[in-house]
Subunit: 287 residues, 2 copies
């Protein structure tokens, strides 16, 4: 990608809001690439560590008004919305703003309400992990990952271009995805699986004896990875994607009930047919 | 382990009933270890291939009545029960019999009914995979795996010892587990996760567009592995472990409903607390 906005590195400052897994990884990569990085982070120890190790040059006091300000908001989605006004000054100063969250629609409403739709673009790097926090961040987190970016009404073309350049700078590919469709797709492919995994581990916790523990390798282990994900982040995501997610939860309940009914009725023939169809779907995903 | 029953290899014949993933792997390892292996298998091509490649020396016509017969039944659990009478002659001739299935109680009833409890012992190698069939079998499938073996009333001590030696010969450790407790534990740790994974992929198949497909990495991918498992095997398991599994399905429905209710009531505080507890359970599983 030919850089136009990011080529003059001395002319730009990045302000990262939130130094968690995502924000920390963004900061590490940008500073390594020679950019000036500032950060706002409530954990004093993480902020100091980031300063000492030259990942950032400081916090908002280091904003230089003669330079262009690129703001990357790397907070859980509800935390952004609830604290939007607190960061409005930075948003107004900024030349470019993006987020990194897994729910889009409610944040877009907030952006429009504050008339920031020209320079605030929605991003979602598919690079999350059950390992959360600054201590797990690393400069290569986005390498060869996909980041969805969402065009919306009122977005300026230079903002879209800056967003593509920004993720390219971090090693990620970008993929356009409408905000509404984004929230529907991620409800099914990510948020619902998390609901189910959390539920399975919750049930398991009620029988968590050493005998049970010995045998989680037979299937349950596949579910435990994502059940270790950050509770604050996932409460935020479940709450904000409420409508899509409740619909999908109802759908999965129907699916589970379908298998339950076949078992209850001793209908082995139909159960076998049903599982065969599912295996075919799964095989089509490998292609 | 000091071998007593398996030390004189020329004195023993193994008859494997069913050359699938498990039976094929047993046959490959035993023949490699220098034992005489026979097999009963409905697929003529697999049987011929196994003969040509010297994995087996033939089928039941090769039974030598001057030698000890060890029978390994490697069929799906309902298939064993429905065809039990067909194999009774071999069971009566045998010195030792074991199975390899994931549901125990109903097979044990069948064994007792036929007064075979002294020499027929229940085994379950935790070595299953979403890859099924003879073509995926391999001689190292059981290496460093755990096999549960179930003591039951009327079992002779030499049978228990033979069973331990047999799995040791294949590279597996053994672990005693009561048949009833076995079925309860595997209902939760293996059978229920399969129900849930099949359900998620079934729901996904209804929205299986290329856009959805691009983003299954965000959580759903963890579930797809086991949804590729053998439909016949899993119909058998679900049907035979009906009572335990229906109880666990009801429990997981309650767990999912708990999260649904928190979302529905916008009760972020309780939802967060709930997810925090689950994360702790998950972390305790890593220890």
């Amino acid at each position: 990608m030919k850089k136009t906005f990011l080529k003059n590195k001395k002319n730009i400052q990045f302000l990262i809001i939130g130094l968690g897994l995502i924000g920390g990884s963004v900061a590490k990569r940008l500073s390594k690439n020679g950019f000036e990085v500032l950060a706002i982070e409530k954990s004093k120890s993480h902020l100091n560590y980031a300063k000492k190790s030259k990942i950032i040059i400081g916090s908002s006091e280091k904003i230089d008004s003669t330079k262009k300000l690129f703001v990357i908001v790397a907070l859980p989605p509800k935390v952004i919305i609830n604290n939007f006004d607190k960061y409005l000054d930075f948003f107004h100063k900024a030349d470019f703003i993006t987020d990194c969250t897994s729910v889009k629609k409610s944040l877009l409403n907030k952006i429009k309400k504050n008339k920031l739709e020209s320079k605030f673009i929605l991003s979602h790097p598919i690079a999350g992990s059950e390992k959360s926090g600054f201590l797990n961040s690393n400069q290569d987190l986005f390498t060869d990952k996909i980041t969805t970016i969402s065009k919306h009404e009122g977005l300026s073309i230079p903002t879209l271009q800056k967003c593509k350049e920004f993720w390219f700078e971090l090693g990620s590919k970008t993929h356009n995805l409408d905000p509404k469709l984004h929230d529907k797709i991620f409800s099914l492919t990510s948020h619902l699986p998390h609901v189910v995994a959390f539920s399975l581990i919750s049930l398991f916790s009620k029988r968590n004896t050493s005998e049970y523990k010995k045998f989680i390798g037979g299937g349950l282990k596949d579910f435990t990875r994502i059940a270790e994900s950050d509770p604050v982040m996932w409460e935020n995501i479940f709450s904000l994607n409420k409508n899509n997610l409740l619909k999908d939860i109802n759908e999965i309940e129907k699916e589970i009930n379908k298998i339950k009914t076949f078992i209850l009725q001793d209908n082995g023939r139909k159960l076998k047919e049903h599982l065969k169809k599912i295996k075919k779907t799964k095989e089509s995903l490998n292609r």
